[in-house]
């Protein structure tokens, strides 16, 4: 067998990717029920990532697949769009957690609390629930308020992030994980019990009916619309991630992750920089929370358990902590497994059972083995790809460009003393 020379492998040829996408899109169009065709279409994004083409072309093509191809072939199938928007919601959340865990290295096990804050903010004020404690005709707000609430949810969650961060960020490492875990549970329990003395969250009964977003009188209640809303939000979050990663702030985060002491001695104020990471990560979760509430039309505290936090953490670690494409992939894989593959497999086995081919005890239903599957997945990743599916890589600088523009700028920083001391000696 010929050995493949991976060094020489520049990536998948563009033609192959294009053909793959076209074939699966067509398959999906004609075999509407085929899960494989749907997954194949989604996988074309992964293929694209590894394609040998310049980045701009890849981005344009990726956008076409997401915005045109998928809605065109799967848009009329409520179920696929539901899965796709669910994937989107988790991708967006994982990207938020990636800032906290991946960049800044702060192990946050209560991340879902910020998600809950955003979700409850919209849920409470857009349903008759609000009239339990504010008697005003102004409330409840209509679905048109969904849009401003994206910003309000962001701000509320960011405030939560700072309030949590201030006391908590004094501890680090394992201690931080435990403290944030506790905080996440506290928030959930507060929401669970805040139905008395004043009924604010309606306790364990949850809040419903949360209105769907409205735009110019158009009610966006189907997953089809949410797919696009989520897509726009992800685009913004990815852009923010990329910009932060290669900025003064992003470098400070990574520096703190790598070595807190050294970072401090470089003049980085630990608490401020960590708080920024917490607030930014939280604010993304807050925005997604608002979308989640509007999509589900019903929320209760059970949507915000510790397992959710751990699930999102799993996505980040599986994909590659600190790696933006990795986290997107990790979140997609975990979510698809969770909401689609295992259920489909269950259904398939049930159908076999009904036709009498197989006698499956109820306890062996695959959809009950979610945790087991994730556990195994995580073990394999830890063994074979310890840095995640797509490991994080720091961006290289364009040295030629620096070399070219360096002389024109003169000597900078401390090196400006060079010319001074030289001229000082001459005079």
């Amino acid at each position: 067998m010929a050995k493949i020379n991976w060094k020489a492998f520049k990536g998948i040829p563009l033609a192959v990717t294009l053909a793959w996408t076209a074939i699966f899109a067509l398959l999906l169009h004609f075999l509407e029920k085929s899960v494989l065709a749907f997954l194949g279409t989604l996988a074309s994004i992964v293929l694209l990532y590894y394609t040998n083409a310049n980045n701009r072309l890849k981005m344009v093509f990726g956008a076409i697949v997401l915005v045109v191809v998928i809605p065109l072939v799967a848009g009329d199938n409520r179920y696929y769009m539901e899965v796709a928007s669910q994937v989107g919601i988790y991708v967006a959340m994982a990207l938020g957690l990636n800032i906290v865990v991946g960049f800044a290295g702060l192990l946050d096990m209560g991340y879902v609390a910020f998600f809950a804050a955003g979700a409850y903010a919209y849920a409470i004020f857009s349903t008759p629930q609000v009239n339990q404690f504010i008697a005003s005709d102004f409330f409840p707000l209509s679905g048109a308020w969904f849009w401003p609430f994206l910003i309000i949810g962001l701000i509320v969650a960011a405030i939560f992030g700072i309030l949590l961060g201030l006391p908590v960020l004094r501890v680090k490492g394992d201690y931080l994980a435990i403290v944030t875990l506790g905080f996440g549970e506290i928030i959930r329990i507060i929401f669970n019990n805040l139905d008395k003395p004043i009924n604010i969250t309606n306790g364990p009964q949850g809040i419903t009916p949360i209105p769907s977003p409205e735009l110019f009188g158009l009610k966006m209640s189907t997953p089809f619309y949410f797919y696009f809303i989520v897509l726009v939000v992800i685009a913004i979050i990815v852009l923010a991630n990329v910009r932060f990663e290669n900025s003064r702030l992003g470098r400070a985060w990574v520096a703190i992750r790598e070595d807190e002491l050294a970072a401090q001695s470089m003049g980085i104020p630990l608490l401020n920089v960590k708080l920024a990471a917490f607030a930014i990560g939280a604010s993304f979760a807050g925005v997604v929370g608002v979308i989640f509430a509007a999509k589900q039309t019903f929320i209760d505290p059970t949507s915000f358990t510790l397992m959710e936090s751990i699930g999102i953490l799993l996505m980040v670690i599986l994909g590659g902590s600190g790696s933006i494409p990795g986290v997107v992939l990790g979140a997609s894989i975990v979510t698809i497994l969770q909401v689609q593959l295992l259920k489909e497999f269950s259904n398939f086995l049930h159908s076999l059972q009904q036709s009498g081919v197989l006698n499956l005890p109820n306890q062996l239903d695959p959809s009950k083995f979610q945790r087991l599957v994730f556990g195994i997945l995580l073990i394999f990743v830890a063994l074979f790809r310890p840095n995640g599916l797509i490991p994080a890589k720091r961006k290289h600088s364009d040295l030629e460009a620096i070399k070219a523009s360096s002389p024109g700028r003169g000597k900078l920083g401390i090196l400006s003393r060079l010319s001074q001391s030289a001229s000082g000696k001459q005079t």
Partner: protein
């Protein structure tokens, strides 16, 4: 007036007095060494100066102003940079980025500026990148600017750590065992390099070092610590002949004991 003055610094860890009433004056533009046997309290002294430990007693004056009680990052922005005994680079960042972290506190980009990538932020970033590159050139490792710091050989890591410290634009640089683990030729190079820092960049240098050849050849003034106390100070010549120093390093001679 001395550039840096430590007055009666004392630090206790439980019952152990790591630094006992240490007073040191550092003149501007000097190279000063702090020496002493293992466990003498040299690194504790550095950690107090740089804000990592708060002294139990005493005061630290920089240009006559107290910097006692400031956080390490505040001390750094006031012009005191340091390197570490066991090199502490940001291993997964590139060499260039390591140096850019040192420039952090002189940049002003805020969250919104970064998010919208304003022109000011872009220009600031570009300048920081160039400055970092120039620093790498200065310490002679510009060709590895895009390498991950953790992958560099030991000697280059030492240089990179110094470049990173220089990036904070300090007046004083504290070097904790800059020649540790180096062979004689590398040590000689390091000596020459430290001299160059002082001469060309107008830096004041304080160093901890065990290599006596380097200490005696390089420093203008030496403070000797033993068991947390300062037992001597003076020029290399004075220190070399000081009986208390010899005793601290070699122990009492048997003839004296008997």
């Amino acid at each position: 007036m001395a550039l840096l003055e430590a007055v009666g610094l004392t630090k206790r860890f439980g019952g152990l007095v790591a630094n006992d009433n240490i007073t040191v004056r550092i003149e501007k533009g000097s190279i000063t060494a702090v020496i002493g046997p293992n466990g003498a309290g040299k690194t504790t002294f550095f950690n107090m100066i740089t804000g990592f430990y708060e002294p139990d007693e005493g005061d630290i004056l920089l240009n006559g102003h107290s910097i006692k009680g400031l956080r390490p990052d505040q001390v750094a922005t006031r012009g005191i940079a340091r390197t570490f005994q066991n090199i502490r680079l940001f291993k997964q960042m590139t060499a260039l980025e390591n140096v850019m972290v040192g420039i952090h506190s002189r940049l002003s980009a805020g969250m919104l500026g970064i998010l919208f990538k304003t022109r000011k932020v872009r220009e600031e970033e570009e300048l920081a990148r160039i400055e970092a590159y120039q620093l790498l050139e200065y310490v002679g490792i510009a060709d590895i600017a895009n390498e991950e710091a953790g992958n560099l050989p030991y000697g280059l890591q030492r240089r990179l750590e110094i470049a990173r410290a220089l990036a904070t634009n300090p007046q004083i640089i504290l070097l904790d065992e800059p020649a540790a683990g180096m062979n004689p030729r590398e040590t000689l190079e390091m000596t020459e390099f430290i001299r160059r820092l002082k001469r060309e960049l107008d830096l004041t240098i304080i160093l901890i070092e065990h290599d006596m050849k380097l200490v005696m050849g390089l420093s203008e003034y030496i403070h000797v610590l033993d068991y947390g106390r300062k037992i001597a100070e003076g020029t290399p010549e004075q220190i070399r002949n000081n009986p208390r120093v010899i005793e601290a390093y070699l122990g009492k001679s048997t003839s004296e004991v008997s």
